[in-house]
Amino acid sequence: MRVLGRHPVGMILSAPYAVYLAVIFAYPLGFAVWMSFHDYFFAAPGAIVDHPFVGLDNYRAVLTDPGVHQAFQNILIFLVINVPLTTGLALVLAVALNRAVHGRAFLRVAFYVPYVTASVAVVGVWLFLFNSGGLVNSVLGPLAPDPSWLINEHLAMPTIAVFVTWKQLGFFILLYLAALQNVPKELYESAAVDGASAWHRFWSVTVPAVRPATALVVILALITGANLFTEPYLLTGGGGPNGASASPVLVMYQRGLQQGEPDFAAALGVLLVLGVLIVAYINRRLIERD
């Protein structure tokens, strides 16, 4: 019994998830780390291939690759736009929805629909909206950017950041709505009695009260953003124009699967995981501090 601990039933109940984590998460992650230190390519079962240890060669190749540098710069631009925009809009809209008297259910569903719609379908709509002769440029008329949004090296990544913000917003609004249910109404009443304006009540009561939710929203937005793939793959035709919207995960796909260099892709993936962990940790320390 000691082998199974004091609560063997608990061990049995948690075993499926533990196995799931081991097979789906721990093993691939460990294998990726191993690959990143070896000269590795995918081979047929039974094929006699050598995978020699190459030390930090793959990491050196990743860190000196101009395409990788550009991808990380692109993702930085994406995060700088997407994370604050997501957090701010989600909070403001959640507060507004929380107070809405009419059509609350409709509005909640309306915000949530893009989140549950397949990216491929939504990307198709955005392509029609943002191409040179699309609706957005037709409305803007002479103010339309030239080159157009998705083929403009300065606008492609910001457009993707706005697209992802719009698509994910419904989920983050729901998180904030749940957090808002836990804010005591007495706090608002006290603030009102003290003469606080609507803005002061929002800034001094709502924002601090939902800080744990904000920490979660920021970290989730950060992780989702760092794993950006579908949008540059579909919306800008494989990271275009000229690599201006390539993301690290898109580069991993191109190098690892298309070009048969999974060792390079693994090293890039490990660096991405470390980067996200560090930024998420810093975020958490900054946002959750009291």
């Binding site: 000691r2 199974l4 081991a22 047929a44 039974g46 006699i48 291939v49 191409n131 990271g239 298309q258």
Partner: protein, 426 residues
């Protein structure tokens, strides 16, 4: 001790997962001699599927003990990714009738392909059927890991209606030199349509439908890489690049990916396509076809172009390879090649296609010029790191020709240096 069980579970999981990597393979000589049922994959193109099903039915009728099970290539981003994954998993079929020549070096490196030369008379069979063109499909070790099957030699398709609207001769348009092509393109743009609309996106294979056909024509049939050296950083490559750059700089070819079929939707007056387009556009567009242009306007009978071929390869997971080899010969016989031509309009990679199937070309004269062109095709180079080489070239092309961020000479010189290194296998 409390951590013993989780540790044991993790160890077992890792061992099981690692174990998945170790089986399969089998003895190659034994597999080469074995006969029995086999599985094949076919392209999901409707016309090819129809041909494949009829071919399989014909084989199965006569070989009940060596029946073929055919299925479409499973869905994925690209067929090559699906096949690569199947090789790694050890569940690739015996034959795939849609193997891209550009992917063969990678599949070979993975240990996923069977050298066809290991079967008696195979090299001779390929040489007799395909002639000298077959040499382009040999791997650097001198062996055939793919059976040259069919090509779609690309030409310039043009829309007669849009040409007439722009005041151009719609029956015999002057498109043989770069200057003539650009003059026509400017008139087309003035009439409100894009002249030509190749995908300006950065996927590695897009250069097969803009730069490469014209480079093959301009250089009298050079491949992108020959004798381990990049060929595009040459006067011919520069001329082709300058031609396309003019089209992009003047807005004659849009820089934005079209969300659909620009030629079919009549948004572009020209397209670079193979004979498959005849059935696709049919009567929807009144079209004509001419060879790709060259700087000096070479005669049509001297023009070479990209083959856009798809081949058949035998995969090492196959346990009944003797049957697979017989099926391969059956499926590429004169009779089955004729059926393929009939059902798909694609050109079997065999010598003298027009002379071999005269009745077909009498009934379908539109296909004749593609059959003539099929005799003068250039394949992608069969070199290590093939896909990485094409991506390197595409990036340089995109950077300099399409978006003009770097002089063509600098971009091509940098890419050539990297390509030389990749082609050497490092």
């Amino acid at each position: 001790m409390k951590r013993t069980l989780p540790a044991a579970v993790l160890t077992l999981t890792l061992a099981l997962a690692a174990g998945c990597d170790g089986g399969g393979g089998g003895d190659a000589a034994k597999a080469n001699a074995a006969s029995g049922p086999i599985t094949i994959w076919l392209s999901n193109n409707q016309e090819e599927l129809a041909w494949g099903k009829a071919m399989v039915a014909a084989w199965n009728t006569a070989h009940a003990d060596q029946a073929i099970t055919a299925q479409e290539i499973p869905a994925g981003n690209t067929s090559e990714e699906v096949i690569g994954a199947a090789i790694t998993a050890g569940n690739a079929p015996c034959l795939i009738f849609n193997t891209a020549p550009a992917a063969v070096p990678q599949f070979q490196k993975q240990g996923g392909l069977v050298a066809l030369d290991t079967f008696d008379g195979a090299a001779q069979y390929i040489a007799d059927r395909t002639g000298a063109t077959a040499d382009q499909y040999k791997s650097p070790d001198g062996k055939f890991y793919q059976m040259p099957w069919k090509s779609n030699p690309v030409m310039i398709f043009y829309n007669k209606g849009l040409f007439a609207k722009a005041g151009l001769d719609s029956e015999k348009p002057a498109l043989s030199t770069y200057d003539e092509f650009l003059t026509a393109a400017r008139k087309l743009k003035a009439s409100g349509t894009a002249a030509i609309y190749p995908a300006p996106s950065s996927e590695f294979f897009q250069s097969w439908f803009d730069f490469y056909p014209l480079f093959a024509a301009e250089s009298d049939g050079k491949q992108l890489v020959q004798d381990g050296k990049a060929q595009f950083n040459s006067p011919e490559g520069q001329k082709v690049a300058a031609f396309w750059k003019t089209l992009y700089d003047e807005g004659l070819a849009p820089k934005e990916k079209y969300n659909g079929d620009s030629f079919g939707d009549q948004k572009a007056a020209m397209a670079i396509v193979g004979p498959w387009a005849i059935a696709v556009y049919g009567d929807k567009v009144k079209w004509g076809a001419v060879p790709v242009p060259t700087s000096t306007g070479k005669p049509a009978e001297q023009i070479k172009t990209f083959s856009d071929a798809k081949n058949v390869a035998m995969y090492s997971a196959c346990q009944n390879r003797a049957t697979a080899w017989e099926v391969l010969k059956f499926a590429t016989s004169k009779e089955q090649d004729g059926e393929l031509l009939n059902k798909t309009g694609q050109m079997p990679l065999r010598t003298g296609v027009a002379a071999t199937y005269p009745d077909y070309f009498t009934k379908n004269p539109a296909y004749r010029q593609f059959a003539d062109q099929a005799a003068r095709t250039v394949e992608v180079p069969n070199v290590p790191n093939s896909v990485a080489i094409w991506q390197t070239f595409r990036d340089a092309y995109s950077q300099s020709v399409i978006f003009g961020k770097q002089p063509v000479a600098d971009a091509f010189a940098g890419a050539a240096e990297k390509v030389d290194q990749l082609a050497s296998g490092s």
